[in-house]
Structure formats: C-alpha cells, structure tokens
Symmetry: C2
C-alpha cells in the first residue's frame, strides 16, 4: 500500500495500530506539536541532539500539511497522545478539536525507516513477528539542554542474534536522519534499564537472552520524555510506535 492510501485508513480510523513494517522504503516520522512559545527552544534542543531528534520537517505555526507528505497531521496518524503540563491526559485518534493556530509541528526521523533494510539482510525483527509495538525505554543517557528542554534519551530495543549485530550496525549507521547506528549494545543496566521485559513505551517482546542480545537505538519518543520535565501547557505527539508515514523515499 502507498503512504497516501495507508494514511486514509488512519484518517478514517479503520486502523489505529503501530506503523512498524508499513509502506516499505518510505520515511516514517515522530511528531511533536507545541505552542509557538516553546518552538525556538525545542528546535534548538533537536539541533543539539541530532541522534535522538533528527529533524526531517518543521511546520510553521498553524500549518497542518507537512512538506514531505500530502497529509493532514491532525488526522493522518493512527493514534495521538495529548499531554498537559507534562502529564499524559489521553490517547486519541484525531486531534482536530484540539488544534490551535499557534501550534508548531516538528517531524523527527524514526528507526522504523531502516527496519526494511534490516529484514532485507535476513535480520528478523521480533516485535514485528510477535505483533507488538517496538519496546522503548527511558535511559540515563543525558541529552544536551536547550532553554527549558532537558532530560534523558529514550531508546528503542531490538534483540538480535550475535552474528546479526555487526551487520545491523553497518546498515543503520547509514540512516543518519533515522537515528543512525545503535547507541548501546548488550548491557541494559549500564544505560539505566532495570528490566528488559518492562518497557516504558511500546510493548514487551519475548526473547531468549542466551540466544539474543538487546541492541538499542536512539528514539524520537525522547521529546515526550523530556516534555515531562518541561511541562508545556500542552504538547501533542504521536502515540509511540504510531508514526506519520511520509511520501519521502528513504533514499532521498
């Protein structure tokens, strides 16, 4: 299915699940919406933290159509999260009623973009096989501060076989605007993850720890974690794992 058709299914709420594995070769993006008063500091935060927050598009205040997708960001993602003063208020499938003319939208690269290339090299992805939202974890890896925005990195985890890891590193390093190579391999406790079976976002994935090693990539959910500290009056984001599928091919 082409991105436009896929987004129609989200717009009509026929599908409200994760976008992992959808629309191969098209760039997927994390989304963060903030009132303009926060926009400068947040954009600077992204520039200073390109590994977790690689900017792929910015929509000026009041703009609802990205430059990289013939889409309406108020309706064309499968699921959204609304945060007020740093607290998750609710998950919704449409944010039209919440929209304000002073909202600025940031689109940030997503590791789903490189999953097709991993699978193409024979690397199996358990969250897809088990129909789960990829597990994501808060870490103790600090981001670089910008204005009021400060906090720690969120990472996504894929458990790989020993002989797949080097290949996965080589493949993902090339995807600079989709988080690049892993930020950590093998020792979750070293980056502040206490229990690999209890993700902070997404869903738990079963794997045999004797056969597979957890590999961690920087994740575009980082701003949602940082937002908990900044407590913006309102912040709207995609639900973790439920991305904007853009019309931009990953090669571009």
């Amino acid at each position: 299915m082409k991105p436009k058709q896929q987004r129609e299914k989200f717009r009509s709420n026929q599908y409200t699940g994760t976008t992992s594995g959808m629309c191969d070769n098209y760039l997927q993006a994390n989304m963060i919406i903030l009132p303009k008063e926060y926009a400068f500091e947040f954009l600077l935060f992204c520039l200073r933290n390109p590994r977790s927050c690689p900017i792929v598009d910015v929509l000026e205040e009041g703009v609802t159509q990205p430059r990289i997708a013939d889409a309406d960001i108020r309706t064309d993602l499968p699921k959204y999260r609304i945060y007020r003063k740093g607290k998750l208020e609710k998950e919704v499938v449409d944010i039209t009623d919440e929209w304000r003319d002073d909202f600025v939208t940031f689109l940030i690269g997503c590791s789903f973009t490189f999953e097709k290339s991993l699978i193409g090299e024979g690397i199996g992805l358990l969250h897809q096989e088990q129909n789960r939202v990829v597990p994501m974890f808060k870490t103790t890896i600090p981001c670089e501060k910008a204005g009021r925005f400060e906090g720690n990195m969120v990472v996504s985890m894929r458990a790989l076989k020993e002989d797949e890891i080097e290949k996965a590193v080589q493949i993902t390093e090339k995807f600079e605007t989709s988080h690049g190579g892993p930020v950590h391999i093998g020792h979750p406790e070293e980056i502040g993850i206490a229990d690999i079976q209890k993700p902070d976002y997404g869903e738990s994935v079963s794997f045999d720890e004797n056969e597979r090693t957890p590999v961690f990539w920087a994740c575009g959910v980082t701003p949602q974690n940082v937002g908990l500290n900044v407590k913006p009056s309102i912040m709207i984001a995609h639900a973790p794992g439920h991305m904007l599928i853009t019309d931009q091919l990953e090669e571009q």
Copy 2:
C-alpha cells in the same frame, strides 16, 4: 596571534577593521542578534538555507558567551551594525548599551574560514593584498522562506585566475559549515549583479577582467539582507567582514 588575544584588541577598540586573514585555522563566524520573538522563525530560516546560513552556534536568550569561543559577543567583534525596523541605524564598536535579556544570538559560518587553505594552495586573494573588506553583493538567488523571513542570498566574491578555479572549488567544497563550494562562477549578471565594481557590502577590489574570473560564495550577510524585508524591531549584526573569531579550529 591567538583568537583570545586578537579579540582583546577588538574589545579595547585598538583594532576595528576586517578580520580577513586573522588567526589562521580558527573558525570565523557571522553574528545575528534578534529578540526572542523572532528566534524560532530565524533558526528555521537558517536550517532551510544551510548554504548561506550554516549554524555553528546558538546562544539562548540573554546569553553573551558562545559555546565555541571564550568571548563576550557584546564587545569582542571589531565592529557591529544596528538595524531598527529593517533600516541600518548605525555602526558601533560595542553593543553593551543595547543589550537586552531577550536577545538570542546566532553564529553562522564564514568564508574567511577557508581563505587560509586557498592561500596555502597558492591562490592569491586580492582583497587581502589590497587591504579591502571582501566585496559582497545582493543577488537574485532566492532563499527558502521560513515564517516572516524571506529574501535573496548575499554572496562574497573572489576574482581568481582561470587555472585556480577548479582547485578553489575542490578546497572550499569541504568546508560545509563555512558555505562550502561556490554558488556561481563567471557571470555576475546571471545572479543579478549589475556592476562587479559596486558591491552592496564590503569594498570594491580591482582586478583585470581578462585575467581573472569572479567566483561567488554564499555569504552569512544574507540574514542582514533578509532582515531588511522582515523589519524586526531591532536586529544587531557584525559589520560585514568584521567577524567573531572563535576558539574552534576549522578541522573540528
């Protein structure tokens, strides 16, 4: 002379001229100061126009010390320009009296950074030989709009001998955060320059048009040109050619 010592001479106003040719191998930067209300749109303008506005540092509101120089941006450039509502009000050698806590400062790469490498390869730079501020011109090359910020690119010009041009292209292409390779070679009228002897910024440089070809690089004075359209309540910039010399080596 090291950047710190050189900046002391600017701070004490012992020298108020161009910084071209100073502190070889250290990155030089254009500076733009705007009230915070313009900061998001201007930062986005820079991101969308990386050739003319490559960001090398951003100082959050009220901050006067860059991350890439042990300097005070209010005193440590040789000369400044103060614009009000898009009009040049005056040139000054110190902006301490104008400073406000809501000022955000942007540092943008400068082509002076690659001049040492050109000279090192035997390419003579006439503006240095003739003790002039490098000539800069408004062009008809449009920048990509961001919010209220829109307008045309400004370029710097160096007249080179035919057999130097390819080498100059190769050398400068590597300086990605200092404007990279030329944006135009040889036909000033094609980019809207009517008279190569009448620059819009800097000073005229004499050369024999039968022996040398004008080569144009994107220039960090572009925001000053764009600012004329946006008419911000106040905008402070370096005087063209009178840059911030940073403590960062160009290799970094």
